[in-house]
Symmetry: C2
Subunit: 337 residues, 2 copies
DNA sequence: CTGAAAGCGCTTACAG
DNA sequence: CTGAAAGCGCTTACAG
């Protein structure tokens, strides 16, 4: 490996000068001639600074951890892409972590931080993480941004505009003429679930409708959760003409259960789900969704971390706004409906 | 941050002794008394070694890069989980990379390696990567393991037992009585696609059947690719009674297109797909799949990297064997079929 | 504008 | 069995 002193030797300057040139020293006290010779030498030798040495010296790692509960979730891929792109543009690396580790091995994050491997953490909490667990994450002044989870507390948070998303879904259904609307929500204790449910209730109230509690479930975001929710909901004496599903994954399960009972979507029941992932377009029927700005959330988290030092923030990412993606799972309720 | 010398001071020994104790020096030249005092001191101070310093000194990073073409792919999540678990157990961190970077920014991997940020790379090649590009990845003796892609070449490779997987799917269909079987494959130029297609042809030949070329497509693994393949295939004068789809994602698209044409699965056409992901169970009908050992592949790649030095290897991961997961997308062909 | 020097926190031959 | 010393490759006050 070619090192700083090699470049210095070739350029005929001191290592210090090379360091200053290459790091784009803010107080640029370097002559143009020196700069040029250094740049030429570095290029010629294909010099790449040693990360460990720089990190040891500066106590900065240019690395952040992305800790998520579930890589298979509807939201992860886009989130990761946004984070990765923003990180890449800033020369930051992203190390992957699974949120289960926070439970299985409580020292894991502390160790990662303690070893000085990361400058900060982007953390999506598993649904229903007790607030007490949050406190325990406040580690040695390493910045942590909690995303798509809680929207207050001792750690910085960035959340999606869940209320706007739900409103979009509800507007769509209302415009189609639905009044009997059910809600398939996140886990009881899930922060996003609570926000989405609250937004659903608010939208119903605004429309002068009162939600039918038998049509509301809180079983979670996974496909199997959605299916279980549908099983329960479809037991009701009367059925809603439309469902707002708080997560696309759950919506797949709902769809499967509805098919199983030989009901029709959207003929018997319309479905609109939060989050837009490729498979929303590959189900039968394709599912109308609300596209949330997930890649932007990932990017925003990286930015927040990179620019941190501003203390704890609590942000709702309301731009770009959620977008309704109309597919074939929604239609006007049947005349008899 | 508490450092080595703090532990040494508390234990009343030299930093060197602490280092030896804590690193579990192979040539354990340390008395039991010293060891105990050091351990006690380290525990008391909650000592965690500084990663940068250790890395600078040893030139090892305990970090590997996991570079994949697409985090949304059917295979990624499980792969990542397997890699993450194995890495975690070995105290290795995993940094995430997107394979597009290999194209967009040809120096990216070289830089990552050059900076000394990683000890090795697990790389899933984008489908159809030209062999020449492989050569260019042979970087400064940093071990690279190419997974689920090519199965030979200048870099180490580990692939799934695609042939066994396809054979399982074919056996299932043959046992149900199918003879008119189509194949929806990976991209032309995709190594996995080629292996799966070859296995399909072999299985057909073994059964004394000759594949109908109009029923074979090579459009890729994405949902939209599957749909495009189905569009083309369903134009044929006669239709197959069953399809082997080389990737579950594509199978969703196939299913959607079949629905769109008011054909029935499995009534008109049976479908069996490679890879088993949660949503195979949440489609309508749920899809019969072949479960491939993806998490084991991820783990094996980590192991190969960690134990590398053994030179270039080419491995087919044939254990655990692929497993058929029978759901409702396959049935005997209709009498008239 | 530039260089000499110290030091970030470890590990590891080398002595003893 | 243990310690003193050197050094991994950088950066950054401090002089000049």
């Amino acid at each position: 490996m070619v090192k700083l002193s090699d470049v210095a030797a070739l350029a005929g300057v001191s290592p210090a000068a090379v360091s200053r040139v290459l790091s784009g020293d803010t107080t640029l006290r370097v002559s143009e001639g020196t700069r040029q010779r250094v740049m030429a030498a570095a290029q010629q030798l294909d010099y790449v600074p040693n990360h460990a040495a720089r990190s040891l010296r500066t106590s900065r790692t240019s690395t952040i951890a992305l800790v998520v509960p579930d890589v298979t979730s509807a939201v992860f891929a886009e989130l990761a892409r946004g984070a990765e792109d923003e990180a890449g543009a800033r020369g930051l690396a992203i190390v992957l972590g699974r949120a289960e580790r926070l439970h299985d091995d409580r020292d894991w994050l502390r160790r990662l931080v303690g070893e000085g491997r990361i400058d900060g953490v982007i953390l999506q909490l598993p649904d229903g993480t007790p607030p007490a667990d949050l406190e325990s994450l406040v580690v040695q002044d390493t910045p942590i941004v909690v995303i798509n989870s809680v929207d207050d507390g001792p750690l910085s948070t960035i959340v999606l505009d869940d209320a706007a998303g739900i409103r979009l879904a509800m507007d769509h259904l209302r415009r189609l003429g639905h009044t009997d609307i059910g809600f398939i929500g996140g886990l009881l204790g899930s922060a996003t679930g609570a926000r989405r449910e609250a937004a659903f209730r608010a939208a119903m109230a605004e429309a002068g409708l009162s939600p039918e509690e038998a049509w509301m479930t809180r079983l979670g975001y996974a496909g199997t959760d959605g299916r279980a929710a549908a099983v329960r909901l479809l037991e009701s004496a009367t059925l809603p003409t439309a469902l707002v599903v708080a997560n696309l994954n759950a919506a797949l399960g709902v769809l499967a259960e509805i098919h199983d009972r030989d009901l029709r979507v959207p003929g018997d029941i319309s479905i609109v789900a939060m989050h837009d992932v490729w498979y929303a377009d590959a189900t039968w029927p394709p599912i109308t969704t609300v596209r949330m700005p997930l890649s932007e959330l990932g990017a925003a988290a990286v930015v927040a971390l990179a620019d941190s030092g501003s203390g704890v923030i609590h942000t709702v990412l309301d731009s770009p706004a959620p977008q309704l993606v109309v597919r074939r799972s929604t239609a006007a309720p049947r005349a008899g409906g």
